[in-house]
């Protein structure tokens, strides 16, 4: 009996791990779609998730002798029901809290994320220590490390399941359903041993199945706003692609934002004709992503060949299928990361046209850096031109925007002799080794190319006054935008806050106070675990960013990174369990190992960069994760492995992870860059090791 209970508890913990990781990823992706898709939002969700998990864990202190396997099964049923409900709440309640069609700022996103994650997050955080209490009620010698290890196994399996299977094949509600089936099965097995098993099983099973099925049934309906028809919907590896139709117009949405709607004549003409009009003849054109209507404009220059690079084949297929982009003779579609393509190809182009969103995420920022302009230059033939654009200004250029444009211009100028700016619908950058002619209408007339927008509006919008105004304000000494020191990111964050007339200061001060109070009340072992959670999440984010910068955005490999970080904890925890009797010494050695690994990371990105095989980063991540995993069993041993000690240790780990996520991605990396962030994390571990070293024996 005791043996089977032990097995059931461990399996339930594993199944909960699988379900919770899948739910977490689904929720993050949903928030990226429903809200702004920048790293702030990712960090906010992870922060809320981990914080609420920590709070739920803390609440489990109240669980005592009444904790039973049957109740654990009912908690599992609660999790199963809440997962689809949480997703529905995120979708449906958005229009209650926010005006339909509007975006949300930092604080409202934070509050909304907190409120919608509360039920699931608290219950999930509660479930893990509750399972330990349950186990100890049955088997008093049951070790906290076993729960920790089981949880790690579940998390790893969940990461693998989502990253390598679910993401490619199923919708969010289907993913939730599949991920919760093992937990449902185990809950039923446990309920079968209770009193009145048939009734309980029937009710619990029916409620779970109804919730999971209702989610799937409401999948498309919950994505369709009134007055529009959902003509196409597909979850790709890279995001949510949907096409809505209204009065003969199709609009293609990527991650909740409209990106193409018929031909945006103004933008399509500006993006294409500003650069191509500069060339006497056009042989090869490389388009990195594209706007609706661009292909037809490119065709007017009769290029011999056009390479169109779009990482997401689903997005590209939808764009062509619904007529946003037209097929041209000589057009090749390449499904590859744009930057990675520049490293791969040996083709030389006359023009390279970037049509990307604003560089307000690390993923997009990679296309606006010193290293990108360097590689782009090598792929242009003599007399070639690179063009890109960022949000323009109507009648006033703000200081932050001026610095952004100056930074971009200075960065591009390092590689091109001339960088001309044209203030049209957006601000267009024309980068070449010849001086671009900015009288676009005259150039097009020479080539006998007719346009709707440029011929009519160019002289009213791109006036000499406006151009002079722009140059007057961007001729400043702004820092270059580099891969590992993304100056543009901090400007974009400022911009985001300015748009909503808010500032992150209040939040950060509150956070600093919260962590200060928490840490002041923590034991040394808890501080070690807090700092370990912090470093684990921080280094994971560092490796993901570095990996993206060096090798391009390749979803499977990012899945691997997340997975190795989860997987490394397991052998680390097992090893730590075996050597726990060595106590504080092990914590200090593990801290030392983490510092050393962070320095190795620094050395690798500084001196080896993309010459390293990607596997090197995976090995590094696995090692870091293993070093972190060692510490939990040792800390539990030092704290006495009692219920309260275990719960505090789990809480410290989760709260540290929450802090690491937020601080690394939204404060340290944008403001001090990747190199100094790495040193800060190493410094944190130095403090942790110092505290343990100074620990009274």
């Amino acid at each position: 009996m005791k043996k089977s209970a032990d097995r059931h508890i461990r399996f339930i913990v594993i199944a909960t791990g699988i379900a919770s990781v899948v739910t977490q990823i689904v929720v993050i992706r949903e928030f990226l779609t429903q809200f702004n898709g920048n790293e702030f939002v990712i960090a906010l969700i992870l922060f809320n998730w981990l914080l609420l998990g920590g709070m739920g864990t803390f609440m489990a202190r109240a669980a005592g002798k009444k904790a039973s396997l049957l109740r654990l099964a009912l908690i599992s049923v609660g999790l199963i029901v809440m997962a689809p409900l949480e997703l529905l709440m995120i979708r449906y309640f958005r229009d209650v809290f926010f005006i339909y069609g509007s975006s949300a700022g930092f604080y409202s996103t934070f509050a909304y994320a907190f409120l919608t994650i509360v039920p699931y997050g608290l219950l999930l955080g509660f479930a893990l220590p509750y399972s330990l209490v349950t186990a100890r009620n049955i088997l008093p010698s049951f070790s906290g490390t076993r729960v920790y290890i089981a949880d790690n196994i579940g998390d790893t399996l969940g990461g693998i399941l989502f990253s390598f299977a679910l993401v490619a094949w199923v919708t969010p509600f289907q993913a939730l359903c599949i991920a919760h089936l093992p937990l449902l099965y185990l809950a039923m097995v446990v309920l079968a041993h209770g009193s009145r098993p048939k009734t309980t099983m029937a009710i619990a099973g029916a409620v779970c199945l109804f919730a999971l099925a209702a989610g799937m049934a409401l999948e498309k309906g919950s994505l369709t706003p009134p007055g529009m028809t959902l003509s196409y919907y597909q979850e790709s590896r890279y995001g949510r692609i949907a096409v809505y139709s209204d009065r003969k117009q199709h609009t293609l949405y990527l991650d909740g934002k409209p990106v193409m709607a018929g031909a945006d004549t103004a933008l399509a003409e500006e993006s294409v004709h500003y650069p191509l009009s500069q060339l006497p003849s056009v042989n090869g054109v490389l388009l990195i992503s594209a706007q609706g209507g661009m292909m037809a404009e490119v065709a007017k220059h009769r290029p011999a060949f056009v390479d169109y690079v779009e990482i997401d084949p689903v997005l590209s297929d939808a764009a062509f299928a619904f007529g946003f982009l037209e097929n041209l003779s000589g057009l090749t579609r390449i499904h590859e990361d744009g930057r990675a393509w520049l490293y791969l190809t040996e083709t030389t182009y006359d023009a390279l046209i970037l049509s990307l969103p604003e560089p307000d995420t690390f993923q997009i920022n990679r296309f606006f850096t010193d290293a990108f302009f360097n590689i782009a230059k090598t792929r242009l033939g003599d007399g070639g031109i690179l063009s890109f654009s960022v949000t323009g200004f109507d009648n006033y250029i703000r200081d932050e925007q001026a610095v952004k444009i100056a930074s971009l211009r200075n960065t591009a100028k390092k590689h091109f002799k001339h960088v001309a700016l044209l203030p049209g619908e957006k601000i267009h950058f024309l980068c070449a080794d010849f001086a671009p002619d900015t009288d676009i209408v005259a150039l097009l007339d020479v080539k006998n190319i007719q346009t709707d927008y440029i011929h009519g509006l160019f002289h009213g919008n791109v006036t000499a006054d406006r151009t002079a105004y722009l140059y007057e304000h961007v001729n400043i000494d702004a820092p270059l935008n580099r891969d590992f020191s993304p100056h543009l990111m901090r400007l974009m964050y400022k911009d985001w806050f300015a748009r909503f007339s808010t500032s992150p200061t209040g939040f950060l001060v509150t956070l600093a106070l919260f962590f200060s109070i928490y840490l002041a009340r923590s034991s040394r072992e808890e501080f070690v675990l807090f700092s370990t959670g912090c470093v684990l999440m921080g280094s994971q984010i560092l490796i993901i960013f570095a990996f993206q910068i060096l090798f391009g955005y390749i979803y499977e490999q990012i899945g691997w990174i997340v997975t190795v970080f989860l997987a490394g904890l397991l052998p680390g925890a097992m090893f730590g369990h075996r050597i726990r009797a060595h106590g504080a010494k092990i914590l200090i050695i593990a801290d030392g190992a983490l510092m050393a690994l962070l320095l190795v990371f620094l050395f690798l990105i500084t001196y080896a960069g993309d010459r390293l095989p990607p596997a090197a980063f995976l090995i590094l991540g696995l090692s870091m994760s293993a070093a972190c995993g060692i510490q939990m069993p040792v800390a539990l041993y030092l704290r006495g492995d009692k219920k309260s000690g275990v719960i505090q240790a789990f809480s410290a780990d989760l709260i540290g992870a929450a802090a690491g996520t937020l601080i690394t991605s939204v404060i340290l990396i944008p403001y001090i860059g990747i190199i100094w962030t790495t040193l800060c994390l190493a410094g944190l571990k130095l403090i942790s090791a110092g505290l343990m070293y100074a620990r009274p024996s």
Binding site: Y92, S102, L218, D246, G262, G456
Partner: protein
């Protein structure tokens, strides 16, 4: 995020519960219900204790306000009627109460100065091909979620880089660049009324036209004074629904309609602009009521511009307006009797051009701001000799 009221909570809760039991087609109705339960007013608030200690730069005492016994003041410029205690700042961010006196901060400090074609305002029936010196100072009494000039309308005057241009200098500059008019535009000129009215008076004395591009959210008294020197206006009629005004713009419909009536009564040439925001403004019933009101109260001659919406500022998750919607609504408005209905932000659309309301022939062919065909003689159609409403060269 707005406060969740009990009513909203109950409505949304009921809607969410019903969702689980409803079949797919009914879901749109549920979402519609939830949208109605959503935040319903974005009207700005008074900034308590936020005024500078001393009047900033060339701040001028406000044109229209009255004092209350406790050093509070009531601003009289716009229908918000901000009651400002000492050191408070008004909704428009431009008016402050310093020691019981109401000041306009933006006086003499425009943040934008450009030379624009009159077609850009848009004013299609007012001296085509002319240019104007367009100026703006910071501030706005609305909070439009789709504002395209939020960088200057939703900020404090003190936070921007500004020029120093007093009314006489504005007019001098306009003459220097050979502009025929001064336009008060981009942000909301009502928020810098004192600067606008002084400049407009000087401009008028020097023979320049005054163009007012506005949301029309102004009180009758200051408007009456402005009309003395005003030559043309383009007033936004955001939507013929008070609910939408509150939800997307932070204002009320009634006072804007009064502005139209007042301009009509004072014989000021004006054109009406409506941005067709999908899901809000493109409701056929609302649009029909709007056309009826225009015909009944203003007559058929004032041009109506229907602009295509593009996602902007905070309203960036809606699709652009379908061109078919603009075409349909244009035809509908013309059927209802409005003679000149234009489509904006759609290059190449037939609604860019002017057709004689009598013979239907093309009078003015536009390509953006360029005029390719111009078949008017003074204010008369060259083809059928009908008088075309407007102020023509």
């Amino acid at each position: 995020m707005n406060q969740l009221t009990r009513r909203r909570f109950l409505v949304s809760g009921a809607a969410a519960v019903c969702t689980a039991a409803l079949p797919g087609p009914a879901l749109a109705g549920v979402r519609g219900l939830l949208q109605k339960a959503g935040p319903d007013d974005v009207t700005g608030v008074i900034f308590k204790g936020d005024a500078p200690r001393h009047p900033w730069k060339w701040s001028k005492e406000a044109f229209d306000y009255h004092r209350l016994p406790d050093q509070s003041v009531v601003c009289g410029i716009c229908p918000h009627g901000c009651v400002l205690e000492k050191q408070d700042r008004g909704i428009c961010r431009s008016k402050v109460n310093i020691n019981g006196k109401l000041y306009s901060l933006a006086y003499g400090n425009p943040c934008s100065v450009n030379i624009d074609p009159v077609e850009k305002k848009p004013l299609f029936h007012f001296h085509p091909r002319s240019t104007n010196l367009s100026i703006a100072a910071a501030g706005c009494n609305f909070r439009c979620l789709n504002c395209q000039n939020w960088e200057i309308s939703q900020v404090y005057p003190e936070s921007l880089r500004t020029y120093e241009l007093f009314p006489a200098q504005v007019v001098e500059k306009a003459i220097e660049v050979k502009a025929e008019a001064v336009a008060y535009t981009y942000s909301e000129a009502i928020s810098y009324f004192e600067y606008m009215i002084d400049t407009a008076r000087v401009a008028h004395e020097k023979g320049l036209y005054n163009l007012w591009i506005s949301n029309g959210y102004i009180n009758p008294a200051p408007l009456d004074v402005l009309c003395d020197v005003l030559d043309a206006a383009n007033i936004n009629l955001k939507c013929f629904s008070d609910d939408v005004y509150r939800k997307l713009n932070g204002g009320r419909l009634g006072p804007v309609l009064e502005t139209f009536k007042a301009l009509h009564k004072r014989n000021v040439h004006f054109e009406i602009t409506t941005l067709m925001v999908p899901g809000y403004v493109d409701d056929p019933e609302i649009f029909s009521a709007m056309c009826r009101w225009i015909i009944e109260n203003l007559g058929p001659d004032y041009p109506l511009h229907l602009l295509r919406f593009f996602p902007r500022y905070k309203l960036d998750r809606l699709p652009p307006t379908p061109v078919a919607t603009l075409t349909e609504f244009r035809q509908f408005a013309m059927k209802k009797g409005i003679r000149y209905v234009y489509v904006g932000n759609v290059p190449g659309h037939e609604g860019n051009h002017t057709y004689c309301h009598h013979c239907g022939k093309l009078l003015i062919e536009r390509q953006g701001y360029l005029i390719k065909t111009y078949d008017l003689e003074k204010n008369i159609c060259k083809h059928c000799k009908t008088v075309i409403p407007g102020r023509w060269t």
